[in-house]
């Protein structure tokens, strides 16, 4: 083994992959497994390859196949941090220089709303979400730099330490962040441990008008990355919401959320998002689909089996005059 191999095979160490028992419980929730049935392409497969001395290069296909939905991490009985495992292995493969500036801008506020790239790309939905959150004291934050960083981190990049310090400093005084990009949740919690981090869905569902607008025939599509990043807490939150509203959820019997995989920024992926949507809809006849994430919204809109598909921000009626201005264009 040469030095590079030695270095790279040490990657993944922070994830606790050595604890993996090979129980394969992670396969049950894994969309890649669902579509390929190849154990090597799953979190358990990667852990076992590493345990037996495999290198990231030997696992390239597996490492790139993952859509980082985090479902496996939520259910792994051995507590392997499978998301960290994949991102660390991607970093080992990419061996990229750390990313520079990513701090954003906006009005200083204790409560910030990070819309993420997909929502920023949809002006109408962005204005709706921002208006709804504004009434709860959230200020829309320009998180374009952070979105770029998230994209890089997902594919093997990492933040430049000095820039990370600046970002953390810029967030002093912030007590709560609602972030639509679930991938960022785990990192925001690590970087800003005193800040309450929630997803867009969770933040909006706290509003009575949103929850009341959900109906028994609805199928509610949880944004998977954020959900799995705080699974222990959110599993109860969404289960109560389901019991209160009577709506269905895109959850499996293990109470993991079934992903479409559409949020993945890994371009070499092999996941068919339409097949995932079909599996979520299998034998279900919802009257309406309500999606938390714009990426999922688009997948379901493209799926012929779908009924009416709306974004969670469309659940509340907001008069045109009260829609948040044009903050996204500033």
């Amino acid at each position: 083994m040469n030095t590079t191999d030695m270095e790279t095979s040490n990657r993944g160490a922070g994830s606790g992959y050595e604890k993996c028992t090979g129980c394969a419980v992670c396969t049950l929730t894994c969309p890649v497994w669902h579509q390929t049935r190849d154990i090597i392409l799953t979190a358990g497969g990667r852990s076992r390859v590493l345990q037996s001395g495999g290198t990231p290069e030997e696992m390239r296909e597996s490492i790139t196949a993952c859509v980082l939905c985090g479902a496996c991490a939520a259910v792994c009985p051995a507590g392997v941090d499978t998301v960290a495992l994949t991102t660390e292995l991607r970093a080992a493969l990419a061996a990229r220089a750390p990313r520079g500036s990513f701090s954003g801008g906006g009005k200083p506020s204790a409560k910030l709303f990070f819309p993420g790239a997909a929502l920023r790309g949809n002006g109408e939905l962005l204005r709706r979400a921002a208006s709804l959150l504004e009434t709860d004291g959230f200020t829309l934050f320009d998180d374009a730099g952070l979105s770029e960083l998230a994209g890089e981190m997902e594919t093997g990049g990492r933040p430049e330490p000095e820039e990370l310090k600046n970002f953390i400093h810029s967030m002093s005084g912030v007590t709560e962040i609602a972030a639509a990009d679930g991938f960022l949740h785990r990192y925001l919690r690590q970087w800003l441990p005193a800040v309450r981090v929630s997803g867009l869905g969770e933040a909006l569902l706290r509003k009575r008008e949103i929850k009341n607008a959900l109906k028994a025939g609805d199928l509610y599509i949880i944004e998977t990355r954020g959900y799995h990043a705080a699974h222990t807490r959110l599993v109860t939150f969404y289960d109560r919401m389901r019991l209160e509203t009577g709506c269905g959820l895109n959850t499996s019997l293990q109470r993991a959320a079934i992903p479409t995989g559409a949020a993945s920024r890994q371009t070499v992926g092999r996941l068919d998002t339409a097949e995932q949507a079909r599996w979520i809809l299998h034998k279900r006849r919802p009257a309406r689909i309500v999606a938390e994430s714009v990426e999922d919204l688009e997948v379901f809109k493209r799926t012929p089996e779908s009924p009416e598909v709306i974004h969670i921000a469309e659940l509340a009626r907001i008069p045109q005059s009260e829609l948040a201005g044009t903050r996204d264009e500033r």
Partner: protein, 516 residues
Amino acid sequence: MTTANISSTDILDHVAPDSLKGIPRRQTNPARWNGGSWGAFTDALRSQNIEICEKKQTCRVYAVDSGGLASGLPHGVALARSAEQISAILKQAQLHRVPVTVKGGGLTTEGESVAFGGLQLDMRAMNRVLSVDAKNMTVRAQAGIYWHTLGEVLRRDGLDYLSAPLNMTSSVGGTLSVGGIDINSPRLGCSADQAVSLQVVTPTGEIKECSESENPELFERVLLGYGQFGVITEASMRIRKFTPLTMHYFYYGSLREAMEDLQLLVRGDAADYCGILTVLDKAVNLLVAFDSDERERAFFSGWRGRLRGHGQLGFALRMTWHYALRPWRIGEALYLLGRKRALEPAFKPEHHLEKNKIVDRTVVFSNSVWKFWGGKRMVIPDLATSAEKFVEAIERGNAVCRKYFPRYTLYCVGIKLSGRRERYELSCIPPDAEGFAYGCEFEPILGGEDYSREYLQAFKNEIYDIGVEMKTSYYRFGGMMKGYIRRVFGDELVEKHLAMKRAADPAMILNPDVIF
């Protein structure tokens, strides 16, 4: 020397009747197949567009089963795709005398699904539900499907399978091959008895449908057949309506009383689900559960008064008194308390409760099993007995556990037999069982302790020896403990089955090291 030069008997029948006598019994892996004809075998398959993965890192992922102690390395791995593909593989395997080891969930613990060279056939890639017949209450599925995946699909129709291991990642085919015990087995029997018909690829590559009326001999051989007589590729099974269930626990300080009460409930069909789960032999938990309020009411009016178990409060008071008189055993008391605190919420998570009923019990149990009992090495010897031998065998097994480990769990269930079936011969169902059989798993909690393989093996041997002395059977049946099969069942029966195996599998290539 290539395998072609020596007879199949020499290669594969290496456990002679008395091979264990007079030698220290150690855990042994079978010799690895030497790979002589591997190249010709894979060339032939590739010419038929059958993919075989020979990458070292892939083969290594298949090196162990859930036991983690038997270690083998296949020469290559094939993901099962269709009965036709498996047929082609087995035909070439016969021709080139290449061992093929079938793996479903790989939840065996004695290496039964580990390939010691040759081809590992991973059935999990065949995991589709093919059809659900809600009118006749049957499902047809590919046999590599996990029970959990089957349950997930059936739930979309408000349906459920009958009984399956409390383990989400065991496969239908693997389970039908070994038995399959659930806490509803006292009512519904073992999982293998749910099968209505099967599609099987025989060791010589024929694709056959079998059931009680079509090719019944094959049906009886393949069910509980440990993969000796064919690869199950599809299974039709009986199903039922999905119901959430109510669960109650009764606590015993005496293992014997709990076992006797379990037998009382099993005989009387008093509960829809029942079983024993212990913390050491100090906190013995008899769990009962019900699919309907009527059954629950009937239990409380007709049976509860006859059980000697306590409710939680009564048991806590007894335990407090017990340990107050034995202060030197405070360590044990604290362990019991800690275990109770950890296990209780795990077995009743809020998000799996609806109107106080448990929804998706297999998920709840399986998660807890892996979390609290799982590990990289799992040593779970067991005994399967007739009703008459149950209490004595398990008390003896319990004494062995106490001798070897400070922390352990026993898991006991009853199994309803469906009459006298050929499939029960030379299987986990004991030959003298009538009406019901009983099983107990003895599971030490290894924790971080670094027990030597010899120590673990000595423990297993002592449990298995009870089976030999009392003429019981074992639930885990084969692999590294196959030497016990002859000792328990005798040469005559084993020879009879070996002759059947030779006739069905002339080159002895299918799961060669599991039973014979």
